[in-house]
């Protein structure tokens, strides 16, 4: 299976639905903080925050969207070349007693989210942490699940999922590829490329 899984209109609809689901689940926007995981989680978080503000004008999208870099909390640091550290930006008021919605592009092994939970623990004590992802491709290695999912995408481990966003890549699309890979080789390739394209490592 190779090709485009989500186009720009599909992505827009999925994000709008997730924004509504977040509000429904939390019964409003009270103390919501939307944190994106770099690289592509950050623009996704900003888009979600804007959509939430469109529905609930009382929500300040600029003040309550941020970024959470998890590089220094990864469990695979010394298995890979040194990674550049991204920026962490939090609301002025901090995250104590907030309801945090973590946002990432591809949900895969769950290790990125585990690292994110550790990072949050060092930054404060939120009331709750929820997880929103654009694509859930399965193959979890940890007991972690998403609260809000744009699209469930059954994949083989050897396949690759690439999310491209307007803000970074100039186009909104989700691609799947990997038919040509042999299993062992692609596992390797997955691990190496995940930092820039997949947002989640094997």
């Amino acid at each position: 299976m190779t090709g485009t899984v989500l186009g720009a209109p599909d992505m827009a609809r999925a994000l709008t639905r997730i924004a509504h689901e977040i509000l429904e689940r939390n019964e409003g926007h009270e103390s919501l903080v939307i944190l994106g995981i770099p690289t592509r989680g950050v623009p996704l978080a900003q888009r979600l925050a804007q959509r939430i503000a469109e529905v609930e004008p009382g929500f300040d999208a600029a003040a309550n969207a941020g970024a959470l870099d998890i590089t220094m909390y990864r469990d695979d640091l010394h298995r890979q070349p040194t990674r550049a550290i991204g920026e962490t930006t939090l609301p002025e008021a901090g995250i104590d007693d907030a309801t945090i919605v973590l946002v990432d592009d591809v949900f895969h092994t769950g290790r990125t989210i585990r690292a994110a939970l550790d990072a949050i623990k060092d930054l404060g004590r939120p009331r709750a942490v929820q997880l929103a992802v654009l694509v859930d491709r399965g193959h979890r290695e940890l007991p972690i699940r998403a609260d809000f999912v744009g699209k469930n995408l059954p994949t083989a481990k050897s396949e690759r999922v690439d999310v491209h966003l307007e803000e970074i890549d100039g186009v909104d699309e989700v691609l799947i590829s990997g038919a040509g890979f042999k299993d062992a080789a692609s596992k390797d390739a997955d691990a190496k490329d995940s930092g820039s394209t997949e947002g989640e490592s094997a």
Binding site: M72, L77, H78, R83, I85, E87, L123
Partner: protein
């Protein structure tokens, strides 16, 4: 990067990567919870053959903030004072499983010897070797300069940038200073202009022949000739400088008159210029109290930036995959 031994061999790309990483590290140090789990289980040895409080404490704080285990090994009260050779010390550290060794030594080239000898596998960070280099000091100076003069006081504004076109004066004992030894190549790599101000007796051989460096023999002359963006005052090692027939300049008073930074000279610098000093300062000798405590002095900030820069260096050397050995 496998070791951090000097700034000559540091590429522009690597230097900027260290400064950018230091910016992120500095941001983590403003949080309530300042410890990061990044280097858990790694061991960093501080191997100090020379007395140094601030550099050792700075490296120790940096390693601990990244959750590494720190072992301090200083010359006083250890086998080092009983005449153990550098080689035997290195073999001991290897046997203890040191992942990185931060070394300060009175002999120029000691860090490089340790790194290239094959005595041990750990990463080596030079924390000052003789009169040669002190690379983390130069990096923290560059980090401080970049934050103030490129980023407008913020690291995020300076991300990815160098020190292109800025002009810095380094004033004092260039001959013996490892701080100058590291700063000159790094500033050149980052695209800054370097102005050297020193008595002729305290210039290294060949410095005046270099076409990429301006040399002046009085501070007033340098302030006249250049629009300085920053001025770095080096410490005068009082004990070494005067007396008998071996002095490098006639008297401390004369040194202060020709090379000291006071309030009057500071006011003749451009308004945005910053004042740096690697410490410890001799107030009243190379820098007056007024200049040291002036709002444009960033001397205290240099110390806290030192921790962030050393965290960055340790992270970049130690966090990645095991290098082929």
């Amino acid at each position: 990067m496998r070791h951090l031994l000097d700034t000559d061999s540091l590429s522009r790309e690597d230097a900027i990567r260290i400064l950018d990483t230091a910016g992120q590290m500095a941001a983590t140090q403003e949080r309530e919870m300042r410890k990061l789990p990044t280097l858990r289980g790694r061991t960093v040895v501080n191997l100090f053959f020379e007395d140094s409080t601030r550099t050792r404490i700075s490296f120790e704080a940096a390693a601990k903030r990244l959750s590494a285990d720190v072992i301090n090994f200083s010359a006083k009260g250890s086998s080092l004072s009983k005449g153990e050779s550098l080689k035997d010390t290195a073999l001991t550290l290897q046997a203890m499983g040191a992942d990185a060794v931060v070394v300060r030594h009175w002999a120029s080239g000691a860090a490089q010897r340790l790194a290239e000898s094959g005595w041990m596998h750990g990463h080596v960070l030079n924390a000052g070797d003789g009169t040669h280099q002190h690379p983390t000091q130069a990096l923290l100076d560059a980090f401080t300069m970049r934050r103030h003069l490129v980023g407008g006081g913020k690291d995020s504004g300076a991300n990815g940038k160098a020190l292109e076109g800025l002009t810095f004066a380094i004033v004092g004992d260039i001959l013996h200073s490892r701080v100058a030894g590291s700063n000159i190549p790094l500033l050149r790599t980052l695209g800054a202009n370097v102005v050297i101000v020193a008595p002729p007796t305290l210039l290294p051989y060949g410095m005046t022949d270099r076409s990429d460096i301006a040399v002046h023999y009085t501070l007033d002359e340098a302030i006249e000739a250049h629009d300085l963006d920053g001025i770095m005052m080096l410490r005068v090692q009082r004990e070494r400088m005067t007396g008998g027939g071996s002095g490098f300049f006639p008297s401390p008073e004369e040194y202060t008159r020709l090379f000291g930074l006071d309030g009057e000279r500071l006011r003749r610098l451009p308004d945005h210029a910053i004042v740096l000093h690697p410490g410890p300062m001799n107030r009243g000798l190379e820098i007056s109290a007024e200049a040291a405590d002036h709002p444009r002095s960033v001397i205290v900030e240099q110390v806290s930036n030192g921790v962030a820069v050393r965290m960055a260096a340790l992270y970049l050397l130690l966090a990645g995959e095991e290098a082929a050995e």
